[in-house]
Symmetry: C2
Subunit: 387 residues, 2 copies
């Protein structure tokens, strides 16, 4: 049920002393024989790119899409750390490679935690031999545990395809979490898939999952999603494989939104009737990232005027008179004006912990969906300080 | 010291029953003789445009930039009210015109309050004769009082130029306030200025004031700034006039940011060293509107990693290694990495209620400044519901 479930993979998680709390903070996913297999990754769009992102990207370029392992740490993002940060990230890969008997560029690296601080490399170097020695086919849960930051629970998935499996683990409780940055995910499969097709499947899966959620509109410096294919189960049906990867990504994304910092609600924002899917996406994102709209949801307030106001400033084609808005099946605005609605039914709907709000622009066939959360006192509490 | 101070203007404010609380909610600025003078206005960029914005814009087009009065109400935004909303806005202008003895299209109209609700026109119609009868050269404070929504105090200004004056009043406690929408301002001058040049001065003043602040990134459906020139003081020096209008706009904008809902700090976000002023502005706005950065300020946390991360996703030219960040004169990052700083001095600085954060991108000469606030528990309390 985890990242080490597909044949050919091992995993481990230990505490090496990065986190002052002593909680697990070093995590590994590796092939069973320590030798490279096909690999693909997608990264943050943030130009303030962290050292591990730079390193992983360079390694995959050098190998043409091959990797034997991914080492991950929590408690420090190794971001905004200059040349030393890249040195440290490369040293982590080299240390894992020495233990596994592969080349340093066949190891990928991810970090999550505070921005602007260097890794305690003595602790990390001392931890890596223990981490590699601890790996096993049952190690997935430990690995998933050791990448947690503000996550209240570990996040894992296993999707069974026809003759193959896709496993995974992830962390993330905000696009850029507060004290601890970032969303990370490592996926594995026993299917035989070339790096190029792995990348296609991963890109498509990420577009409809991790890239279709927004807890607070902030994009981390470290976001990384990696997919490794051991090839032990042979070639899959291409469409079935893509579907399984997409399903694993979406499930992990839903686990993240459901665990977002300080939220009381998961909200599914849908925009339909836009001139294009791109315009629908821009509108949905503007609504999903509006402080005012998010406060309304927290207060169980269906105030559709704020939704309309955000759509009016989303930079998309918009005609007020054609707009309708509904919460679930309850229409709150029609033709750009307030609609009559059963107030008791609406109040009951708004009290739920999962809302679906749909804005129909009445202009075309474009649709989009963004998963998000409400804005709460607890979110502010979690994000007021780094300590 | 107010909107009715320049020669040739009167003002009034009364309660007509729009607000259930019985607080003042109907406001007027009019020429002393009730006859039209040169006028200019700038409006919200929101495509979900409210009926009074549509009406005022149409009236200024019809008259070629002439107006005798502005009627304003609080307690209801008359936005998302369809054809009825435009009818109501026009009826307000017609009623004022009948009392003053001018034409309906020589009256402008502004509304602020809840979106999606129609005006109680019986109350408004009954109030207008009383409002017009109450107007006087001392009525500015009453007028400024009657446009308040969540504002904790009325906002007024008088700038004395060389032989002329610019007076004004405004309301606004968020770009789109919560229960009560919008930022409105009415400015008056006794200088003799043609409508075309009034518009130039107003556009320039607004760009560096109302358009350079962002409390929460939300743009209202009703935002309007109007400038009327009675001509009683004769032609001003053009540059001095533009400077006085800009000063009046900036002072009112500062009053708004200083009164923003639930804030504990006013923050002056400056981006320098960008490739262009436009890129600097995009970067400053991304930082100023970041939920995470705003939470940091509330927590007195100088965590510059979040500032860097926002700049990295602002869609502008950005090289992490060239970035420096300072709070006041205290440098917290240099060359893209954390700088040594006097921690006690930094803690003392962050405890102040006015912060200046400067990000130097190290790339060019582009600069920009955005005034904003922190994100607090009280902001959420004010925005959780409409009631």
């Amino acid at each position: 049920m985890t990242v080490s479930s597909p044949a050919g993979f091992t995993a481990a998680g230990i505490a090496c002393g990065i986190k002052p709390s002593g909680d697990p903070d070093l995590s590994l996913v590796a092939t069973t024989d320590g030798q490279p297999v096909a690999a693909a990754a997608v990264f943050t769009q943030n130009r303030m790119t962290a050292a591990p992102v730079v390193t992983t990207n360079a390694h995959l370029t050098l190998t043409g899409g091959q990797a034997a392992a991914v080492i991950l740490n929590s408690g420090c993002a190794n971001a905004a750390t200059g040349a030393l940060g890249v040195e440290d990230a490369q040293a982590m890969c080299a240390a894992v490679a020495a233990e596994l008997g592969c080349r340093a560029e066949e190891v990928l690296v991810c970090s999550t935690g505070l921005i602007g601080y260097s890794l305690p490399m003595d602790s990390v170097r001392a931890g890596i031999p223990k981490l590699v020695a601890a790996r096993s086919a049952d190690g997935g849960p430990d690995a998933a545990e050791a990448i947690r930051t503000t996550d209240t629970h570990r996040k894992e998935i296993l999707v069974s395809g026809d003759g193959f499996m896709v496993g995974g683990m992830a962390k993330g409780a905000a696009m850029l979490a507060p004290n601890m940055a970032t969303m990370l995910a490592v996926l594995t499969t026993d299917a035989t898939v070339e790096a190029e097709h792995l990348m296609e499947a991963l890109r498509a899966g990420v577009a409809e999952s991790f890239n279709a959620m927004s807890t607070d509109g902030c994009t981390s410096t470290n976001d990384t999603v990696i997919l490794l294919a051991s090839g032990e189960a042979g070639p899959p049906d291409a469409a079935a494989f893509r579907a399984a990867v997409a399903e694993a990504c979406l499930d992990l994304a839903m686990q993240m939104v459901g665990d977002a910092e300080g939220h009381t609600k998961v909200v599914d924002v849908r925009v339909v009737g836009a001139l294009s899917d791109d315009e629908a996406r821009a509108g949905a994102r503007k609504v999903a990232e509006s402080q005012l709209v998010k406060c309304s949801w927290y207060g169980r307030d269906p105030y559709w005027g704020r939704v309309a106001s955000e759509l009016g400033t989303a930079g998309i084609t918009f005609e007020p008179d054609k707009l309708s808005v509904r919460y679930g099946d309850l229409v709150v605005a029609e033709g750009g004006v307030t609609a009559r609605v059963d107030e008791d039914a609406l109040a009951a709907y708004m009290a739920q912990d999962h809302l679906e709000v749909t804005a129909n622009l009445g202009l075309g066939d474009g649709t989009a969906r963004i998963l998000t959360n409400d804005l709460t006192h607890a979110y502010i509490d979690e994000n007021m300080g780094t300590s």
